[in-house]
């Protein structure tokens, strides 16, 4: 039997040993039980539904009872903690406490005089060591509990200041917020008579270790990717930008999930209007459950274009770089991918390696990516156009070679493309979610068995194998995965145009795509920046990357409040250090 007395409470609480008078809910439950018994007696039907109803009613009845305990005269609202830990216990037990992972524990503060207290936490989300050693043990050994009894209104302050050794502790009074804090891994401590509840930060998630990026690998760059814990994400960025101007503004999104979303920006660099716009767009999101950062992408995009308008990355260094340029980063708890806005077309073709390699190598790699894009997008359409619609544009030797390779093929070129590309897509989809060993095997089977067999079966020409291989490689040269998706879809648009109108169709479709890209704008930034509108200064970090020293300004399209990121060095320091002279002097001194 729990020793705490309930006599001290007024209101609806009943005296000990008294037969509790049943409330309306209890009476309803009795009636239902009677009804169930009657049904069992007179019929032979399944009474599961009635039993479920009784169980639900029972739960509801308990909740009503626990709420009614907080209806103390003079108490402001049901959402405020009244200071009665019995009520708090009942309320917790009858609401969230029914779940087995919620631990609710009563204990006494103080070694001599004792003050009843209550503690609740979520098993698995909170650090047990911190709860046991830094909270309960210290409170139980507290020698000066008399102070708490004398002035219970300030008990939380005493505990906060003199007892608990948990680093981060706050105070809360509202149940609606306390429950969310509890679910987030915090430990809440109720002290008898004190209306303030201590919220101790004992959060310790079972988190995945920081691993190397899987989707954006770099040769020489940092090998750190975000994990699912937002605190770790913030730490990874903070390690890279140690300036106090780096701000992380928290936002809660999702009525059910209450997901913590953090808006990161660098004050004094990022345009404040951009930060406000981001926050407003986030505030306008009204969803029940926010599970993935990509859910926010649609709300942060201006139109439902095929092309991604926000950059999603798992690389901490890319987020840090974007923040330093004047962008805004959005991180979502439980998602290892952060979002940076605004994003331009060019952003999706820039990688970490571009900045860890020399500008020659970076420029070459970017141009290869551009070439890959053109090859991937245009090779099959060109094949269709030139082999079916406009063969007069091909050199004679090539047209004879193509005609020769197609002898005996029963399908027109467009069907060859459809067959081969369907195989590629199926293989890709099948391999992407398989274990690594299996996916390698599948790739081998796809490449060798299917590729060889399909040519031998004369379903497609051998030239088509070469074309589709180059296409598949070209379309995936985009360093950001989501940029490959629109091209894979538009590929069919260009194919159709090539089939219908030949070379003219290809040009027409490219103009349409280009016009669409030029029409896109997000957060007031044209998607084709710095090409349209042309910003010559920003071209230094486009398809050609200039040396770092030449990139003095932040991108114009970001309208940073601090446009210059690198000052000019008037004289390069110690270009020709006098090594020989110093060595000679050293030897002279010795001799």
């Amino acid at each position: 039997m729990w020793p705490f007395s309930r006599k001290t409470h007024s209101g609806p609480r009943l005296a000990d040993n008294a037969t509790p008078e049943k409330g309306p809910a209890g009476r309803l439950m009795d009636n239902l039980k009677t009804a169930e018994q009657t049904l069992e007696d007179i019929t032979e039907i399944d009474h599961g539904l009635v039993k479920d109803l009784i169980t639900e009613t029972k739960t509801f009845s308990k909740r009503l009872e626990s709420l009614s305990q907080d209806l103390i005269p003079g108490h402001k609202s049901l959402d405020e903690f009244s200071g009665d830990i019995d009520g708090a216990y009942d309320r917790l037990k009858n609401t969230v406490g029914q779940s087995p992972d919620i631990i609710i524990r009563r204990f006494f503060i103080g070694h001599g005089p004792q003050v009843p207290a209550l503690l609740a936490f979520v098993d698995g989300l909170a650090d047990n060591q911190m709860i046991d050693q830094d909270t309960i043990a210290l409170m139980q050994r507290y020698q000066d509990a008399q102070v708490l009894i004398q002035s219970p209104q300030t008990a939380h302050q005493v505990i906060h200041d003199a007892v608990t050794s948990v680093g981060h502790a706050t105070v809360e009074t509202q149940w609606s917020k306390l429950v969310i804090d509890l679910m987030g891994g915090n430990t809440i401590v109720f002290i008898q008579g004190c209306p303030q509840v201590l919220v101790l930060d004992t959060v310790k998630y079972p988190a995945r270790a920081i691993s190397a990026p899987m989707t954006e690998r770099a040769v020489k760059g940092p090998q750190e990717a975000f994990n699912e814990v937002i605190l770790t994400q913030m730490n990874l960025i903070r390690r890279r930008i140690k300036s106090p101007n780096l701000h992380f503004d928290p936002v809660k999104i999702g009525q059910l999930s209450q997901t913590l979303v953090v808006v990161a920006h660098v004050e004094g660099v990022t345009n404040p209007e951009l930060v406000i716009a981001t926050k407003r767009r986030l505030a306008a999101i009204n969803i029940a459950n926010l599970e993935y950062s990509n859910t926010l992408a649609e709300s942060l995009s201006s139109s439902r274009s095929l092309f991604p308008q926000v950059r999603s990355t798992e690389r901490a260094d890319i987020v840090a770089r974007d923040l330093a340029l004047g962008k805004v980063a959005i991180m979502v708890d439980n998602t290892p991918y952060a979002i940076t806005v605004p994003a331009t077309f060019m952003d999706f073709y820039q990688t970490t390696d571009d900045y860890t390699a020399s500008f020659w190598e970076a420029s070459l790699e970017r141009l290869v990516r551009l070439l890959g894009l053109f090859v991937g997008l245009l090779l099959p359409p060109l094949y269709i156009a030139l082999s079916s619609v406009d063969p007069e544009l091909l050199p004679t030797k090539l047209v004879i070679t193509i005609a020769g390779s197609r002898v005996g093929i029963p399908f027109p070129p467009i069907f060859e493309v459809i067959i081969m590309w369907s195989i590629i897509e199926i293989l890709r989809e099948a391999a992407i979610r398989l274990p690594k060993g299996l996916s390698t095997t599948l790739g081998t089977i796809g490449a060798i068995v299917v590729g060889t067999a399909i040519v031998k079966a004369a379903l497609v020409s051998d030239i088509m194998i070469v074309i589709i291989t180059l296409t598949a490689l070209g379309l995936f040269t985009s360093p950001v995965y989501e940029m490959a998706v629109p091209w894979r879809i538009l590929f069919w648009f260009v194919i159709l145009a090539a089939y219908l109108l030949g070379i003219y169709g290809i040009i027409l479709s490219l103009i349409i795509i280009l016009a669409h890209l030029a029409s896109l704008e997000n957060f007031g930034v044209p998607y084709l920046s710095p090409f349209g509108p042309l910003r010559v200064r920003d071209l230094k970090d486009s398809w050609i990357r200039f040396p770092e020293a030449k990139m003095r300004h932040r991108p114009t399209y970001l309208r940073s409040v601090s446009p210059i990121q690198r000052s000019v060095q008037k004289e390069p320091p110690m270009v020709y250090p006098q090594l020989h002279q110093t060595q000679k002097e050293h030897f002279d001194d010795e001799t």
Binding site: S388, V389, P391, E392, A403, G404, V407, L501, G502
Partner: protein, 371 residues
């Protein structure tokens, strides 16, 4: 907004439907790729025969696999059609084959020198109006029969068209770069003051010999220059690349004569004068003396210049005699002295009267084999 969307959709649909007339979707292996076309006079004086030559399917397959048939079978086949126009001949030929007779890959047009001017005019005008034909095929003349030229095979190339593409496409593969594309021929036909010339393809057992040019006055075949005349013609046109000249006095050969030729015209006392300034560079080869002095070099150069000038002048005299101006002296006159040119009602009547000077300078830039 909705109206704008509908308009956009309508525009795209209209564009797609409206342009469907601009295409003919047929895989290349379902077409007969006509690579050569020959035009011969037919038995009927008002008709001509057109030969459409295309690679055989087995030759096409072998070509894609990088092998040849090796069985001695012909790698090309030809279908003929006869009619008063190219269209009629085409239809007749099309009726003999099961696939689309496709002229978009035409690389060579061979015309017989026996074609009457009105027939040739009709054939050329029809060729000009073929849609897929991009006006870039080479055009050559056959002595008597174009069909014979097309029948001849060469061990150097699978198809006649490939032989001529390879030959005319490589400047250093020819003595004179005398390859003429169809559009260049058309330009000469339609420009006053200049007459067309065409290379002559002579079949022989090992392939073709292309070292002569046929001269035309409009559509009228006039004459064919012999190989030596053709070399000098090439020098005057600035087309020479591997022309050589033997000098018996020094037992030396001036080889690789190449260089520009500049034509100018002037009117002196109402008379037209034309001047060719030919500046050639060459290599001295095969001289018998153990060493060549600068004086000797100068003498050799001077002698070579004189000989070339004389020969070129003789070629010009020949063309004046035939009333045909393949050098475009009239065209140059119309640019430099348009009033004088327009005074002449018929340039061909005036051309024989003009005074032509050839000034040639041969500069020996290197000495080849010196014994």
């Amino acid at each position: 907004m909705k109206l704008k969307r509908w308009l956009q959709a309508f525009a795209v649909a209209a564009l797609t439907v409206g342009l469907t007339g601009c295409w003919g979707n047929r895989p290349v292996n379902d077409r007969i790729l006509v690579l050569c076309m020959g035009i011969d006079p037919a038995k009927s004086p008002q008709q001509f025969t057109v030969i459409f030559q295309a690679p055989t399917p087995s030759a096409v397959t072998n070509s894609s696999q990088g092998s040849s048939s090796g069985s001695g079978q012909s790698e090309v086949f030809a279908v003929k059609g006869t009619g008063r126009g190219l269209e009629a001949a085409f239809n007749e030929a099309q009726a003999q084959v099961s696939k689309d007779l496709y002229l978009g890959q035409l690389q060579l047009v061979v015309i017989s020198d026996k074609m009457k001017p009105e027939l040739l005019h009709r054939a050329i005008e029809s060729l000009r109006s073929i849609g897929p034909l991009d006006k870039t095929p080479y055009i050559v003349v056959a002595k008597n029969s174009a069909f014979k030229v097309l029948q001849q095979s060469s061990p150097q190339a699978k198809f006649p068209s490939l032989y001529f593409i390879s030959l005319f496409g490589c400047v250093s593969c020819q003595t004179d770069a005398i390859g003429v594309r169809f559009w260049q021929y058309l330009v000469r036909l339609t420009t006053s003051g200049v007459d067309p010339f065409l290379p002559v393809a002579l079949p022989f057992s090992q392939g073709y010999r292309v070292d002569q040019v046929a001269l035309y006055r409009g559509y009228q075949y006039v004459t064919t220059l012999d190989p030596v005349q053709t070399m000098n013609f090439g020098i005057l046109e600035g087309l020479s690349h591997k022309v050589s000249l033997f000098l018996p006095r020094w037992q030396a050969t001036i080889a690789f004569l190449t260089g520009p030729s500049r034509l100018t015209t002037q009117v002196v006392d109402g008379h037209v004068q034309a001047r060719f300034n030919v500046r050639l560079t060459a290599t001295l080869q095969g001289i018998s003396s153990s060493s060549v002095t600068p004086i000797e070099l100068s003498q050799i150069s001077q002698r070579a210049s004189e000989i070339i000038a004389q020969r070129c002048t003789a070629v010009i005299r020949q063309t004046q005699h035939d009333d045909v101006d393949p050098f475009g002296i009239g065209r140059m006159l119309s640019w430099q002295h348009p009033n004088t040119f327009h005074r002449f009602a018929d340039w061909h009547k005036e051309y024989p009267k003009i005074h032509v000077i050839v000034h040639c300078v041969v500069k020996i830039t290197s000495v080849g084999t010196v014994s």
